[in-house]
Symmetry: C2
DNA sequence: TGGGGCATTATGTCTAGACATATTAGCGAG
DNA sequence: CTCGCTAATATGTCTAGACATAATGCCCCA
């Protein structure tokens, strides 16, 4: 009847009800195990989960205390554009606008830690939902990782090729707002200067950078996260 | 020498090295336990962690398989503005621009599921770092949850009051880009139409909405997430 | 042939006990 | 008084075994 999820729920209730206010040290695992009539390992499972979620802070010897700043963690399920669009019952397609080897801007080489005089593969793609532009993708690829000959990215999306082929070990992700300009404005059919949401992502294979991706969303797009 | 974290690392290595490609069913816990020379519970701990991180999908009876779409989950540590600013060694302050009871726009009542003719408490705040505007906060508060008399939000930030006082059980969070206008443009000293990043957040206490918050960031701001 | 029920199977969870490890508080020496 | 060692302590992890639960797929019966 009392599983670790019940215990997690009960502890969370006490935190929210301010029975155990922020900063307070809560009873030890042994004591809670006795109170709930379970083994210590079961209490440990529950408290560990709450600590991972950011509700508790645990330290050996000093014990477990309620976090001062409750729920400060949110998770984002990064959508695969094709799935996201098809899940809405719309037809997915993409069009490769441009791809060539060229010298990246300094901001790109700096972020990736590459030599500034090294040309990289530049890919520009538009993702379509029912024929309407849904997102604009600009990608810089480290050419050192590409096979010879280069895959045909007009048939297979670069994203899917990467996912299938390369092992990646780390990455980061940022959101920012940017004014539409040039080709992006043209793609979405908005006037230059319109506010667009950009997701920027870099991925690494060990200490080698794989790619830098800038995904510009259509006007009005919201990226939803779960708390 | 072989703890559950080592096992997690080794399994992750095999996934990334394509020893176990996406979609593949990997050996059962019993087999892995034997291979690594540990108890099944230890393997379970490692695989459970990888499943939570999105690398594996586990189902009773059918077993554990490598996820088709690797790493599709990112976490955001929602910053408390004051801490974020002070961590950069800058002085934090905020100024309450406006607060009054007024009828919210339909979009707000719809999102919160409240009656459209019910006035709500409106708070408009600017957060400052070293005196410079860092973020603009617009907040609608459910007046049913406020004590009488209403707390003095010019002395205590609404956010901190809420965190200290109300239990919240759920919430969601979205990012979008928006053109600067009116007071927001004025606060940041940008021309109307400039692209700004907005974080929108609603919080609930059970089925009662607590607040809807729109945090507009200063021009050029990036919200960084960890993958 | 089709469908319902049952055996099988892999994961999910729990227990009791043990040892490991980080961290703190206190003690003692210089 | 301060530094460094030590003992105490709460969490972290592991084990071996057990039972629970969700799916699957097979067998049997209609």
């Amino acid at each position: 009847m009392t599983g670790w999820e019940d215990i997690r729920a009960e502890v969370l209730r006490r935190i929210r009800a301010r029975d155990w206010p922020p900063g307070q040290v809560i009873p030890g695992e042994e004591a809670l195990a006795q109170e709930f009539g379970v083994a210590r390992a079961t209490v440990n499972r529950a408290l560990t989960a709450l600590a991972e979620a950011g509700f508790l802070e645990r330290r050996r010897k000093s014990g477990t205390r309620v976090a001062e700043t409750p729920v400060r963690r949110a998770t984002l399920d990064i959508p695969i554009l094709r799935h996201e669009i098809e899940a809405q019952g719309r037809a997915y397609a993409f069009r490769l606008l441009d791809h060539r080897l060229m010298l990246p801007p300094l901001a790109v080489t700096t972020r990736l830690g590459l030599a500034p005089d090294q040309p990289m593969l530049w890919l520009e793609t538009v993702h379509l939902a029912d024929g309407h532009p849904h997102a604009h993708e600009a990608r810089w690829l480290n050419p050192a990782l590409l096979p010879d000959p280069c895959p045909d990215f007009s048939a297979l999306s670069a994203n899917e090729w990467l996912v299938r082929t390369l092992a990646f070990t780390a990455g980061d992700l940022a959101f920012l707002a940017e004014a539409a300009e040039g080709r992006v404005a043209e793609v979405f059919g908005v006037t230059a200067g319109a506010a667009l949401l950009v997701m920027e992502r870099t991925t690494w294979s060990g200490d080698q950078p794989i790619t830098l991706l800038r995904l510009t969303h259509a006007p009005g797009h919201r990226v939803q996260m779960m708390v």
